[in-house]
């Protein structure tokens, strides 16, 4: 019954968030899986480069994460971005909590929740993201969906709610090579493109995961491409 209660809350939350406007900024980011592995620690590096009519936006994230229980993991990020004059520097700090609501395979689909708090460096801008993580297996393929609600506030930004939607449909071909199709939506942005991920195992719990995707924006700009790459070392 506890599981039913958790899922009910999560679904109500999702229905509420659908009615809010959509998010701006760089929408192409990680599609989160709803799973947490006990004892897991990880170092992560993410790289995102978006090229459109306004130029190039480059962002990098460095993170350390630690599972604090069988169902909850916490991750801290340092975010770097290239600014308007081309200098790359510290942009923001972020704290992320991922909560696995159901055991994998327990229900018709697997559910989790995501909570992120971000503070812009040297600016009074805050962002709180929360959302529902969903994954469903269809034989050798997996459909992963993130429905996120973002609230931005602070002296240097207009307070507002936004939403983001991310989707990944992955074919679990080999551990080292799992092709996918990814879709991202946000304010004035709809993007779609191919993605790839893979895992290389070392001894014990040590493994290296990689992700690569090339997302083409369909929102009307003559040029809008985003390349994203991520490396995760789990130990």
């Amino acid at each position: 019954m506890k599981t039913i209660f958790r899922i009910s809350i999560a679904l109500l939350y999702c229905l509420f968030s659908i009615s809010i406007s959509r998010a701006d900024g760089i929408q192409v980011d990680k599609v989160y899986h709803p799973y947490v592995l006990a004892n897991e620690r990880e170092l992560e590096w993410r790289f995102t480069s978006r090229q459109n009519d306004d130029g190039n936006v480059l962002a990098q994230r460095f993170a350390y994460g630690h599972a604090v229980s069988e169902y909850v993991t916490i991750e801290g990020y340092i975010v770097g971005e290239r600014d308007d004059i081309g200098d790359f520097g510290l942009q923001a700090y972020e704290l992320e909590v991922r909560w696995m609501l159901t055991d994998q395979g327990e229900l018709w689909a697997d559910w989790g929740m995501l909570f992120e708090l971000e503070k812009q460096h040297k600016e009074d801008i805050y962002e709180f993201t929360s959302g529902l993580l969903f994954e469903k297996e269809f034989t050798q393929t997996s459909l992963t969906i993130n429905a996120l609600l973002v609230y931005e506030w602070g002296q240097n930004i207009q307070d507002e709610f936004e939403t983001e939607f991310r989707l990944k449909y992955r074919y679990r071909y080999l551990p080292a090579l799992q092709p996918s199709i990814e879709i991202y939506t946000g304010e004035d942005f709809i993007g779609i493109g191919p993605g790839f991920m893979g895992v290389h195992r070392y001894q014990g719990q040590k493994q290296l995961k990689w992700e690569l995707a090339f997302i083409a924006g369909l929102n009307g700009d003559s040029k809008d491409h985003t390349l994203r790459f991520a490396l995760e070392y789990e130990f």
Binding site: T3, S8, L11, L37, E70, W108, G204
Partner: protein
């Protein structure tokens, strides 16, 4: 609008029913970094529950790419892993901390007709 609410209620009811449906259980022991039994035969197209008892004094991690499962089993503790519905075939699994010894497979077969059916 009422139709949408009705459909959502129906979906949620079916969802809750699926939560409460009985799932067949299979029990596996992990001792001296070996799985007993190392081969588990389960019916095709049916979700089952593996309950793994780790009798060792060290944790183990159940891992299977073909089953798409990854779960830590703490020392002297048990873990529940839901698998399926699966197509007939053999699905390997191993313990990440002792991959040379802790190995096994799940054999998925179509259920044989019951004796009563034969008569």
């Amino acid at each position: 609008m009422n139709k949408v609410i009705g459909a959502l209620t129906l979906c949620f009811g079916l969802f809750c029913q699926s939560l409460l449906a009985a799932v067949e259980e299979y029990h596996v022991q992990l001792k001296d970094h070996l799985f007993f039994p190392s081969q588990i035969t389960i019916p095709a197209n049916q979700k089952v529950k593996l309950i793994i008892y780790n009798q060792d004094n060290t944790p183990e991690e159940f891992d299977s790419f073909s089953l798409n499962r990854d779960k830590v089993i703490f020392a002297n503790n048990k873990a529940t892993i839901f698998i399926g519905p699966l197509q007939p075939g053999e699905y390997d699994f191993f313990g990440e901390y002792n991959p040379n010894t802790a190995r096994g497979s799940v054999i998925v077969e179509h259920q044989k007709q019951k004796a009563a059916d034969a008569n």
